[in-house]
Every structure is written in structure tokens, then in C-alpha cells.
């Protein structure tokens, strides 16, 4: 007997973890396609960019003072 989970088992597990039980029941193909799209890896970062680079949005604590 093979205990390896199938792709659809994996999608179901992931979807249920995300609270998408209802969507999975009503729109199983849509959820499967969404999982494939969402889980697809990002393209390669440009040369010189690594995981140590700061992301685009810069947290600015002074902004909250200005908002008042």
C-alpha cells in the first residue's frame, strides 16, 4: 500500500489549513489551479540581489507621528 500523499491530497490539506474548506467543496478545480499558481516559485532575482537585501517598503516610525 502506498502512503505517499497524492497532489490532490496535498492541495486539500493546504486549502483546509487556509480555511478554504467551503471553496474547495464548491470549486475544487479553482482551488487546485489557485494552489498551483500561488505555490509557483518566483523567478530568479537579478544579479547582485540576494535574500539579504532589504525589501522595497521601508518601515518609517516617524510616519505615524506625522499622521497625527
Amino acid at each position: 500500500m502506498n502512503d505517499t500523499p497524492t497532489a490532490s491530497d496535498t492541495v486539500r490539506l493546504l486549502a483546509e489549513q487556509q480555511g478554504l474548506g467551503k471553496a474547495l467543496k464548491l470549486f475544487p478545480d479553482g482551488v487546485k489551479a489557485a494552489a498551483e499558481r500561488g505555490l509557483r516559485p518566483l523567478g530568479e532575482l537579478p544579479k547582485g540581489t540576494t535574500s539579504l537585501n532589504s525589501p522595497a517598503p521601508i518601515f518609517d516610525p516617524a510616519q505615524f507621528e506625522r499622521a497625527k
Binding site: 487556509q18 478554504l20 471553496a23 489551479a33 489557485a34 500561488g38 518566483l42 523567478g43 537585501n53 525589501p55
Partner: protein, 473 residues
């Protein structure tokens, strides 16, 4: 006699100021036209006729007393139904928001009210600015006035449709991955996505916080610059709003193109993705026209289009899912299928992927800024393909990423869609002109020079009026 249906903002404002045109007469003519033809185009979700006439009467009375507020005074406009207007529902074209009531005006709506503009109504969009032309919602999708069977572009579909059909001279749209420029492209009008932070997002239902932009939509470049000026400016209630003064886009608007340096991002549509031959031909001719007008035009290279698409879509999926998570979990059947299919992938985007997309965004922004160091602007295609049939969801899903607009949502820099001609069957073609951050004056200047020379902007689709209405409108 002035054709009030296709009267533009600049021309109309000049006539109003000179007291040669009554804002009430203009507003009434457009309300009549909407009543006569909008059943064919579904551009409007709500027509605010009483409010419009009251605002037009107030404008007329003020101008009669010599109190002219500026170039939007007495000028009609339409707002995508994603902008809050006090006391009205901001439905976002969704069943989910039908019972909503806005407590206050969006910042830009207030700016236009203060400028004396006349709200004609709220116009259609793709559900939550991300779905598509859906037939499973309480309202039908807006239609393309150039061909009712074709996609009008979106998500600001009603804005594009209403402008092209001569139902309004100005409209507000929003743009996260091209939603102002796509309907501008498909409907043969002018749509500007300004610099991120130039126009407040307060009171606008969000799609993707860090990629959302408000954008002016009109039939001509000059009209667009006027509307931009009316709605731009700092808003203390929007943390993303810039504190810079709004750049003057009108003084140098007609200064010509002589000596300007323009890059062409050709590889997006010649190497990275397949494009429609008519779109490629038209942008090639546009590059030639820019050269004849005195600009120095050269091909430049950026990262492949697929990388920009990955970056935009990952951020978009993650942030939009955060906004809609509860409804997607609890009432997925209340979204249109097209919308649900766009929102669901966000449930599966990991935090690491989202952060990598933000790192990628920073790298791409640096790359674009470097490329712009020796340039005044770049041009590239807007849509790679021609508009598909409006009732073909598979084709619509396929064309979603077949575009170069989302590049400038990633960079946050200004980009305008302007018409570059027509196919043999009369379908509008378009390109984008994009500039540096807060470089709207240069983008408008190039767009104006190009459009003035070619005459493609402001062309009218073949609208057939019902017989009785034709006598009045």
C-alpha cells in the same frame, strides 16, 4: 454648434469660464445621452442625475457671480464605483458590497467637489478591481464602444466605456496592474497612472496596498493633465501620500519633443512575449513619429517581462488575499468566478515568497532608475494582444498577464496609455509613455506632442443613437 457629447475638459472649461456654455446645459446633454445609449454599454452603475443638475446649477450661479474656481468648475465627470461618496454604496461592482454606505467622500472626490466638478454617477468596474468582465454579478459588464463584443479592458471598464461613448469628458480610475491603462488602450482614450503617492488613496477600496494608484482618464492628454492637477496633492489621512508639491504639468505641455531622449523597451514584445503584429507595427510607427518630432529614440533593455510580472503578481496575490480572506473563506460563491480565481492564489503564497517579491521590487526599481539616468522617458507596449471577446473567460484569463503595464506599478513611476492607431477592423491600438518618479510633466509633454502630431487621440467610435434621442443629444 458644439457637440456636447464629445466636448473635452479643456475646451468645455474655457467655454464655461467665458460664459458661452452653461454647465447645466452640458450636464443635461450628457444625462440625456447616458439615458439614450448606456443600455448598450452598461458603463454606469448609478446615475446621480439630481445631484449632477444641482451641482451644475450651483456652478453656473457661482460663475455668473464671477467666482470661477478653476478648470474643473462645472465640468462633468464619472467615478469608478470603488471611490467612496458620502451616503452612497461603494459596491466595487460586487454582490458582497451591495449594502455598503460610505460615511465620507474619498479624498479625490472631495477635491473635485471643492473644484466645482459635477458628478454624473458611478461607473462599472471589474469586481473589486481584479475580476474580469463577469456575467455572474448583479450588474452586467461594461462594453467596448468600438465593438460591443470585445473586452473594454479593465478594471476601470466603465470609465473607459463612458469616455469613448461620449457620456462623460472625464473619469476616475484606479490602477494596480494596469487598470487605468488597459481600458484606455482598449477604448482608444488616454489613461494616466501617476507616481505612487501623487494622488491620495484615502476612501478608495484597496486591492493591493503597495501597488494601487488612482488615475485620471480622459479623451485627450491636455484634459488628463487638468484632471491630474485637480486631484493630486498631499493628504494627511493617507500614509502613502507624498508631501511634494504637485508638479506643474501644463506650463510645458506644448513645448514639443525636440532634443528629448526616449528609450524603447522593445524586448518586452519582440523577445520576452509574443505580441499582436498590429500592436508592434503601431509602436514602431510611433517611435518613428517621435524621432520626426525631434526626439532621440533608442532601444534599451530592462529585466525580462516575466520577472516584472512575477513580482507584481506575487505582491498582488498576497496583499489582495489579506483584504478578502474572510469573504473568500466564508462566501466564495458570492464572488464572480473570474474574481475568485484571481483572489484564491493568494492563500498559497508563502511569507518568504512575498518578501522575496519585495526584494525583487527594490532591485527592479533600482534597475529602472539606472536606465532612466540618461533618458527623459521610455515607451513600450501597453497590451501585447488585441482585446478578446468579452464572453470568453478562457481568453480573458489568458490575456491577463499579456501586457507591459504592471511594470510601472512595480516601479511606482508614471505611465500613460495613448492611442497609436487602429487595426484594419477599427480596434484601437496603444502604447505607454513612462517617466521618472514625479516626472508627470515630461510624460504629459511627450504624450501631448505625439498625440497632437498623429491625431489618434479623440477619435470617436461608431455610436448609434436611438432615433428619438438623436434629435436631442
Amino acid at each position: 454648434m458644439t457637440d456636447l457629447a464629445y466636448l473635452g475638459v479643456a475646451e468645455g472649461a474655457a467655454l464655461i469660464r467665458a460664459k458661452r456654455l452653461s454647465p447645466v446645459e452640458w450636464t443635461r446633454a450628457l444625462l440625456d445621452r447616458i439615458a439614450a445609449i448606456d443600455a448598450d454599454y452598461n458603463a454606469f452603475l448609478v446615475v446621480t442625475a439630481e445631484r449632477a443638475l444641482a451641482q451644475a446649477k450651483t456652478a453656473e450661479a457661482e460663475i455668473a457671480k464671477g467666482r470661477w474656481r478653476g478648470p474643473m468648475h462645472g465640468v462633468p465627470y464619472a467615478a469608478k464605483d470603488i471611490f467612496d461618496i458620502e451616503g452612497m454604496a461603494t459596491t466595487c461592482h460586487s454582490k458582497i458590497r451591495m449594502n455598503h454606505r460610505a460615511a465620507a467622500d474619498a479624498f479625490v472626490v472631495k477635491k473635485l467637489r471643492d473644484a466645482g466638478a459635477v458628478l454624473l454617477g458611478k461607473v462599472a468596474l471589474h469586481e473589486f478591481a481584479t475580476g474580469g468582465p463577469a456575467f455572474d454579478l448583479p450588474w452586467p459588464p461594461a462594453r467596448n464602444p468600438w465593438n460591443r463584443d470585445l473586452h473594454p479592458g479593465g478594471s476601470s471598464s466603465g470609465s473607459g466605456s463612458a469616455l469613448a461613448a461620449g457620456m462623460t469628458p472625464a473619469a476616475l480610475g484606479t490602477d494596480t496592474g494596469g487598470s487605468v491603462r488597459n481600458p484606455a488602450t482598449c477604448c482608444g482614450i488616454v489613461g494616466m497612472k501617476p507616481t505612487y503617492g501623487a494622488i491620495s488613496l484615502a476612501g478608495v477600496f484597496p486591492l493591493t496596498y503597495s501597488l494601487d494608484h488612482v488615475g485620471p482618464m480622459t479623451r485627450t492628454v491636455e484634459d488628463n493633465a487638468i484632471l491630474f492637477h485637480a486631484i493630486a496633492g498631499h493628504d494627511p489621512h493617507d500614509p502613502t501620500s507624498t508631501r511634494r508639491d504637485t508638479p506643474d504639468c501644463l506650463t510645458e505641455l506644448k513645448s514639443g519633443l525636440k532634443g528629448l531622449r526616449i528609450g524603447v523597451v522593445e524586448h518586452f514584445y519582440t523577445e520576452d512575449a509574443a505580441a499582436d503584429p498590429d500592436q508592434v507595427r503601431a509602436i514602431g510607427e510611433a517611435a518613428g513619429a517621435l524621432q520626426r518630432l525631434g526626439a532621440h529614440v533608442k532601444a534599451i533593455r530592462l529585466s525580462p517581462l516575466s520577472l516584472w510580472t512575477d513580482c507584481n503578481r506575487t505582491i498582488h496575490q498576497a496583499e489582495s488575499y489579506a483584504i478578502h480572506e474572510k469573504d473568500v473563506q466564508e462566501r466564495p460563491e458570492d464572488f464572480a468566478a473570474l474574481t475568485r480565481n484571481r483572489l484564491l492564489p493568494g492563500a498559497f503564497v508563502s511569507s518568504a515568497k512575498y518578501i522575496k517579491a519585495q526584494q525583487l521590487r527594490a532591485a527592479l526599481c533600482r534597475e529602472f532608475a539606472e536606465a532612466m539616468r540618461d533618458l527623459d522617458a521610455v515607451i513600450t507596449l501597453s497590451s501585447l494582444l488585441l482585446p478578446c471577446r468579452i464572453d470568453d473567460p478562457a481568453a480573458i484569463a489568458k490575456t491577463y498577464d499579456q501586457q507591459c503595464r504592471l511594470v510601472f506599478n512595480v516601479t511606482g513611476t508614471p505611465a500613460i496609455s495613448v492611442p497609436t492607431g487602429f487595426t484594419a477592423s477599427g480596434i484601437p491600438l496603444a502604447m505607454q509613455i513612462a517617466g521618472r518618479a514625479f516626472g508627470e510633466p515630461m510624460v504629459y509633454r511627450i504624450a501631448q506632442g505625439y498625440c497632437e502630431a498623429t491625431g489618434f487621440a479623440g477619435k470617436r467610435p461608431p455610436i448609434r443613437l436611438p432615433e428619438r434621442a438623436a434629435a436631442r443629444v
